[in-house]
Amino acid sequence: MGHAFSYAGYVTAIWLFLIGLYGVVTSRHLVHLCLSLTVLQASTYVLFTIIGFRPGLPAPIFTDGVTPGSPAVDPVVQALMLTDIVVEATVVALLLAITVRIHRRSGTTDPNQVDMMRG
């Protein structure tokens, strides 16, 4: 059971990564591109959660019947992910702000049409 579960987790992570990357590559709109990037990044959440998963063990919160010091799932990867989810939201905001500037400058939001690189 544990094996099947973690296998499904790895496959999901790879699938999210590829589908997000596909969105980035084929994107015709910068907002769509930013959102594809968040899908791509969601693959890391799944991957880290599954790395920290231990079959049958509780969450690392030692109240309500979980004896302090007893084995639990990996708290380190969970700590990494919870900060990253919040930070990611602000980074997406930064990307969207860049999108707004690009739209103001060049009048388009299609990454293929944007030609901002002038030496």
Binding site: G2, H3, S6, Y7, Y10, I14, F17, L18, L21, Y22, V25, T26, I50, I51, G52, F53, R54, A59, P60, I61, F62, T63, P68, G69, S70, P71, A72, D74, P75, V76, V77, Q78, A79, L82, T83, D84, I85, V86, V87, A89, T90, V91, A93, L94, L96, A97, I98, V100, R101, N112
Partner: protein, 251 residues
């Protein structure tokens, strides 16, 4: 690069990733059975060493507090970047903004919607503060609670519009709040220097477990983080709402 070629490169890369995954699948599954020693140590020691019950918060705000400072400043810098990018010539902006606000005054949500929205603000604030302050006891902490607090500001905008949002939440106060949150984290870390201990050592009394005061500096760092995250998100709301109204005002 034409879109067609980009797609071809993508599919070659995707095939590569899938091949690598297929190759490492077996070792990865074995790795999953290998119990991470560091995580095990934290799970067994957190309660005994720090009197706290949430090992995740203990990692964030104590054992790996230094990494969390890094994360916090990524957040700080991206908020700063968004604000800088969205800033325009300020005087012109205010004129356009006021025009747009004048025109929008008549159209708003119905009184019933407004009442419900406003009634949600107090529970949201209480819940946000609860999540921020109970981080060391139950799942929660400054990051999650800060976002909940920021949604209280968002819902104020939904109910009352930007004019009231701007009057209730002073831009300067929110800016100061964000800077104070980020600064407080570093200052709490530096507190340890007075005891000639390394940066971010947990030097405050650890209190009794299962109580709000447990965990020493952990609770304070959690509150500082909550302040920074909430203020950061409200500043982002400010910037994007202003930008939106400016565009509407120009049209």
């Amino acid at each position: 690069m034409t879109p067609k070629w980009r797609l071809i490169v993508f599919f070659i890369g995707a095939a590569g990733i899938v091949c690598l995954f297929a190759l490492v699948r077996a070792p990865v599954l074995r790795l999953n059975e290998f119990r991470n020693r560091y995580a095990q140590q934290i799970n067994t020691r957190t309660f005994a060493e720090r009197n706290v019950t949430d090992a995740v918060s203990a990692v964030n705000f104590d054992y790996r507090g230094f990494d969390t400072i890094g994360e916090e400043f990524i957040l700080f810098v991206s908020v700063l970047g968004s604000l800088v990018l969205l800033r325009m010539a300020e005087e012109r902006k205010d004129e356009i903004l006021l025009d747009a606000l004048d025109r929008k005054r008549d159209v708003g949500p119905s009184d019933a919607t407004r009442l419900w929205i406003l009634a949600m603000i107090a529970p949201k604030l209480v819940f946000g503060v609860y999540i921020v302050t109970h981080g060391q006891l139950t799942p929660g902490g400054g990051f999650q609670g800060g976002v909940i607090l920021a949604t209280a500001a968002l819902i104020l905008y939904l109910g009352e519009g930007f004019a009231v949002f701007r009057d209730v939440l002073s831009h300067t106060a929110i800016e100061v709040g964000e800077a104070a949150g980020a600064g407080a984290f570093v200052l709490i870390g530096m507190l340890a220097w007075f005891w000639r201990r390394p940066f971010l050592t947990n030097i405050l009394p650890l209190g009794k477990s299962h109580e709000l005061t447990s965990g020493g500096t952990m609770a304070l760092i959690s509150i500082a983080t909550g302040l920074e995250v909430a203020a950061g998100f409200i500043l982002l709301l400010y910037a994007f709402l202003q930008e939106n109204l400016t565009i509407e005002g120009e049209e």
